[in-house]
């Protein structure tokens, strides 16, 4: 029989202060029974002698001081795991949200997990073909990578994430895959976009969904990504599956964290976010990866909307320092009607060099993307210059680069939501576009690849 305490001392925001408690442990979970008999859950944030500070996941409305009853469960927040979590929909704390009966747990796992020993990690180096040129060609995604999408309000980041989830394959492998989707404070419509697409393609059978919508309790969001990753770790490292985790939207998660920090009256860091935001985010993002001797992997695509499209805002900033690159969605490109509007120049995949090359994609891949980047950057500079001085002021070479940059945006970056380009198509398209530049400008490409691939591309473009 668990001890019950009716000693709530004060309630403030999402926090409860409980007094005269014995044998409480830091990080453990509590049940709070309200006067109306309903049960809420909370977690112990601090124990100071006999006082407890508790964050209540479902919010504190309706909790009163005299009659609310606290029970300490003597364990951390845990998630029930079993193979049949696949195809199910859960709430933000990992309790079933669909009509199906509750799970019969194979085992329970603490949602905080443990840090992976860096020595146990296997380096991610398997190329994932997403069928999207700006990712496959320029910022290749590999298994076990964490590659966030930095976006802004009103931009089609969710469509891009859905397209990745739909098209992602590893060349020449038919291994088990699964999708884990965690929704944090997004709207019903946004969540439905994912669910509908997963249903249409039949992938819903191989998906686990954790849904905390915009009108669900805020503090619950702090647990949601951890619950989702616990499920992902189970599927990847115990069930040998390749798991793609999509977290949307991390901005809402960070705001929930700020709310807790503010109610605890902690010294705020930049923009009111707590000083430990970096550490906190890393305990989520670093759960992606591969482990030596395990077949499965966790690849993570967190989505975050940058307030005012500002990349230096603490959320994208700290995320960028932890994740292995970022895909940035650009508003100007979106206005030009280019879809997906991926802003190529500041986007980056840090693990690209390990995932490409002979046997993985093609030998010329690295040189080619370096050249495409350099040429597009040059073209964008020239475009800016032309905007100030007029096109007549550009040298002949600069004008060629402007032509290149325009063709690059319309043919390479732009592609349809359902257009699934093979890596071969993407690479050849890159070469085709480079044919407008003189050969002497292609300094980033080795001679042997120029000799091998450039004539083919010239032939193709001549035909067209």
């Amino acid at each position: 029989m668990l001890k019950e305490y009716k000693t709530v001392g004060s309630i403030s925001g999402p926090l409860l202060l409980v007094e005269s408690v014995t044998e409480a442990k830091f990080g453990h979970i509590v049940e709070i029974e309200l006067p109306d008999g309903s049960i809420r859950r909370g977690q112990i944030l601090e124990v100071d002698r006999d006082k407890l500070l508790i964050q209540v996941f479902e919010g504190t409305s309706g909790i009163d001081i005299p009659s609310s009853c606290i029970r300490i469960l003597g364990r951390g927040v845990e998630l029930a795991l079993a193979p049949d979590i696949l195809g199910r929909v859960f709430g933000g704390l990992g309790l079933p949200r669909d009509e199906s009966p509750p799970l019969i747990a194979e085992r329970w796992a603490d949602i905080n997990g443990n840090p992976i020993n860096p020595y146990a990690r296997d380096y991610p180096n398997e190329f994932i073909q997403t069928g999207i040129s700006t990712i496959d060609g320029l910022n290749p995604l590999v298994r076990g990578q964490k590659l966030p999408i930095f976006s802004g309000s009103g931009l089609p980041h969710n469509r891009l994430a859905v397209q990745i989830a739909r098209q992602a394959t590893v060349l020449g492998s038919g291994e088990d895959f699964a999708v884990v989707f965690a929704a944090m404070g997004i709207t019903f419509d946004e969540a439905q976009l994912f669910i509908n697409d997963l249903t249409d393609t039949g992938a819903i059978e191989r998906a686990v969904l954790f849904i905390n919508l915009a009108d669900d309790p805020t503090i619950e969001r702090i647990a949601t990504p951890r619950v989702a990753l616990t499920a992902a770790e189970y599927l990847a490292f115990e069930r040998d599956m390749h798991v793609l985790v999509i977290l949307s939207d991390m901005t809402n998660y960070c705001e929930a964290l700020r709310e807790i920090a503010a109610s605890r009256k902690e010294v705020p860091g930049r923009r009111g976010y707590p000083g430990y935001l970096y550490t906190d985010l890393s305990t989520i993002y670093e759960r992606a990866g591969r482990i030596k001797g395990k077949k499965g992997s966790i690849t993570m695509i967190p989505i975050l909307t940058m307030p005012e499209d500002d990349k230096t805002h603490p959320i994208p900033d700290l995320t960028g320092y932890i994740t292995e690159g970022q895909i940035i969605i650009s508003r100007p490109l979106e206005r030009k009607g280019i879809s997906p509007p991926v802003d190529v120049l500041p986007s980056l995949s840090r693990l690209k060099d390990k995932g490409i090359g002979p046997d993985k994609t093609r030998e010329d891949h690295a040189d080619l993307y370096n050249q495409l980047y350099a040429a597009y950057a040059h073209g964008k500079d020239a475009q800016e210059l032309a905007a100030v001085l007029g096109e007549a002021a550009l040298s002949e070479m600069d004008q060629t680069y402007v032509t290149f940059a325009e063709a690059f945006e319309h043919r390479y970056i732009s592609q349809g939501d359902y257009e699934n380009r093979s890596i071969e198509q993407t690479l050849n398209l890159g070469w085709d576009l480079l044919t407008v530049l003189p050969k002497a400008e292609l300094k980033r490409i080795r001679d042997e690849y120029l000799d091998k691939y450039l004539p083919q591309a010239q032939e193709r473009t001549a035909k067209a």
């Binding site: 020993n117 860096p118 010294v267 550490t279 990866g289 700290l318």
Partner: protein, 606 residues
Amino acid sequence: MSEQSDKQGRIVRVSGPLVVAENMSGTRMYDVVRVSEQKLVGEIIELKGDLAWIQVYEETAGIGPGETVYLTGRPLSVELGPGLIESIYDGIQRPLDELYEAGGDYIGRGASLPGLDREKKWKFELAENLPDQVGPGQILGQVQETVSLIHKIMVPPGVSGKLSNLNAGEYTVTDIIGQVETADGPVDLRLMQTWPVRQPRPYAKRLSPAEPLLTGQRVIDMLFPITKGGTACVPGPFGSGKTVVQHQLAKWVDTEVVVYVGCGERGNEMTDVLMEFPELKDPRSGEPLMKRSVLIANTSNMPVAAREASVYTGITIAEYFRDMGYTVALMADSTSRWAEAMREISSRLEEMPAEEGYPAYLAARIASFYERSGRTQCLAGNNGEAREGALSVIGAVSPPGGDLSDSVVQATLRVVKVFWSLEATLAARRHFPAIDWLRSYSLYKDVLGEWFEQNIAEDITEMIATTNRLLEEEAELQEIVRLVGAEALSPAEQLALETARSIREDFLHQNAYHEVDTHTSMKKQHLLLSAILNFHRQGLLAIKRGADINALISSPLREAIGRARYIKEEDIEQISNLLKQIDTELGKLSGTQQTAPAAQASPSES
């Protein structure tokens, strides 16, 4: 760490990594304690009456008031001895490979493994002409630790007296190899010694830096060099290539030992180092890089307090090798994460924050960390030979949003002598290493100028000055072009722009992933820069003779210059030939001969 005193404390409060315990009077600041029955490692960081504030290096969930705190009575220390090289440790020197063997894929709690292997036997050879009376730093003998490194066994600091019973043989690190009769009685000598991490190891004398630390990275060696025993910092926003710069340095610096501290960074990056270093060859010894490296990995998701300790663990190990008379380089990636760990602990102590929530002692801690670097005359016992060691420290800084006014950047810039400023705009156009040539600086330039002239080439200082001038001029000319267009420039100015572009694209830009380009010897660096500047000088002369600027710009020689950096080290006479070719071909160029070079140029344009 098994020894315990009888006295025990009791936990009264737990808040994240901070634990407060009572009944702790008599303990000292920075003593190590073991918290609860799980024996989590912690360190005392504040004392108030009977209460002690403890930062715990492991996750504290499940710990509560009433549990026991065990005292060890010793400060946080590292074990120094054979077996350090090729190790990978966490922030408090627990071997991660052995934790993996023992505990599996995840780092569990309360694991207690010694830093050095207790089982392994090392072959200890005596030094020649050992004196009877020995003092701290006296080399007693050596152990061949790896093919690349001879591990010198020294008398620990603070021990001096008559040497007795020292014998060669096969020993484990804890076996007694001899004794020193000190004034306070005999002290046992072992292959291993321990040293508290927060205290700098002593040396005889500090010396001024004199030699460059060569890195094979052109922009660093030529424009912003660092010395053996020097300090440098690499600030930059995310994605600007800090980690790649740090990795490149760890791979290619010409030191005998490299200590790499991954402090609060990505797990996969450490894996990358772990996978690559055993494969890559040290350019000097030809042996795998791992044979000269010690890795400390406390990734961002590992406990925050251990992150705070990791830089100290790293630098203490580095100092130990310096004391043997070696040149050592320490890379810390990233010191911002270390500062953030300090901030987190400070805020839990409810200290009054200074700028951006960082504690007021931030700058002092950063300064004293970098000051542990330097070129030193080592302690060498009573009549041991004087030996010199050098420890260079290179710290990455990750300022929020790349903003250089960040407190950590500013505190670091006040102490370091070399500043490699990484720019997001350069990274966006894939100019790597993205070190800004206008903002970065090296205060060692003057000291090193002489060394370069004597050891590389006489004209090198002048060449570097010309290079800097051209880059500076480029920035000004680009301003003009932006306002009035390129046609307003004179032919000489147009040539200067083109040469500056060539310096940037063909010299400063370096591809870390290209098998040849990743490392360039000083000789080749000199030749490459000579080719670019030669073309400029001859071009200016040709313009004076009335040659057409377009003929110069489209010369096929420029393409050859652009590809010269991919020429292998063993074929560098090809670059010397290119230099001669530039002299003869541009020497022929003048106003009357315009058609000939134009015809030459045409094949490259097709």
